[in-house]
Subunit: 240 residues, 2 copies
Amino acid sequence: MTADGRLSWRAVRDRIHARILSGHYAPGDRLPRDADIADTLGCARSTVQRAMQDLSDSGIVERRRKGGTRVRPDPVTRATFEIPVTRREVEAKGGRYGYQLIRRALEETPRTIAATLEIGAPERMLRVEALHLSDGRPFMLEDRWISTATAPEILDVDLSVESANEWLVVNRPYSRCDVRFSAEAAGEREAELLGCAPGSALFVIDRTTWIGTRPITTVKAATAPGYELLTRTPGDQGAM
Amino acid sequence: MTADGRLSWRAVRDRIHARILSGHYAPGDRLPRDADIADTLGCARSTVQRAMQDLSDSGIVERRRKGGTRVRPDPVTRATFEIPVTRREVEAKGGRYGYQLIRRALEETPRTIAATLEIGAPERMLRVEALHLSDGRPFMLEDRWISTATAPEILDVDLSVESANEWLVVNRPYSRCDVRFSAEAAGEREAELLGCAPGSALFVIDRTTWIGTRPITTVKAATAPGYELLTRTPGDQGAM
DNA sequence: TAGTGGTCTAGACCACCGG
DNA sequence: CGGTGGTCTAGACCACTAT
């Protein structure tokens, strides 16, 4: 509710949501038209529209022109995660950030990497391996390929000082990003670098970014044992 | 653009985004007021507002009353994942779904579970262990606690036929959901049930749901080796 | 306190798609 | 083709917060 007696779109949303939760509208049911809901509640149609859009974004209802609005018959859990720059992530967890360059080389991408980056043929790119530390202990090991065609300046960056992660995030904003989570057993090399036993279960984040259709970078980040990723809740302004 | 010469909010968004990508507006920079952008582009302020809201939701800009709109100085990757009902997930991957109840018992929750569910004291709840199968092979092992106070009807459900996962999703929509991803080594028991070697790296999804402040269920789902979770992209209507 | 984003309204027209 | 959601506009007022 706003200060006067008008309904806010959040109030409308909550009201409709409550009716769904209570079973008044069951999965698969069709809801009244926006205009009718607006009339019933005594607010503008655009207010209902906003509320509905939020419910739709949350995966609670499905909306189709002419088909109307239906309670989603097959609910899904929709969760949003935030992956900050690694330095910030370490600091946010109360650690002192450290960084260590392990390897830097120009190499031809394997076919798998070329496919991931959606380029037709393998290409010579900058490959960077680096370790992020928290309080001096290994936190995350990244194995990265950077397109020197898309980001040639990276060749002049002293990656022993500034991480590619940080440089790219500031200097090569992306327009598209694919993320993949998985679990993987630590290999010999990873185990040694991450300071854990070989075979330890590692949480792995694969990320690939593009600017337009041009690939920027793809990185496999293996986190030290114990890493967790939580849904973003604080503030939650993003519920919209 | 709409059919006539008017700018759509997406067009406005892309235009502003392009200026950020090109470095015209750098991280930390303040953008013009919505009203000025509207004047410049020749559209209504609310159109700019919509565009800005999308950029804000995507974590690209930050907006504050009086403070104006700024390019987020510290970009984050924001990724949304969808976790469907397990049966649907198996089927979507082209598998034949199977299900097997392993254990069903009334037990007192350990303190950790009580804390997760945000209830003050341990409580007697229904504990269910079950295995989801894909083409007859183990796909996901779930260990679940269900509040019999919030969902007493679950006691009458034949969980050897219908999975708690499915029943709850249809009969107990939630108003809040916490999700946590992690990697974990398979224990003896898990390994046997999932048909993998002990110590295998498993992708684990912890989920807890509430209706209002009342806990519904908390579940730890350990997936068979090889499981991956991808950002939801298709259609992408949810970019908003 | 003044400036900026946030929201509501009322009305119009468009785009999509189910019957 | 007709019904429904999607979007744009123009204007008003509110809410937050930087200065």
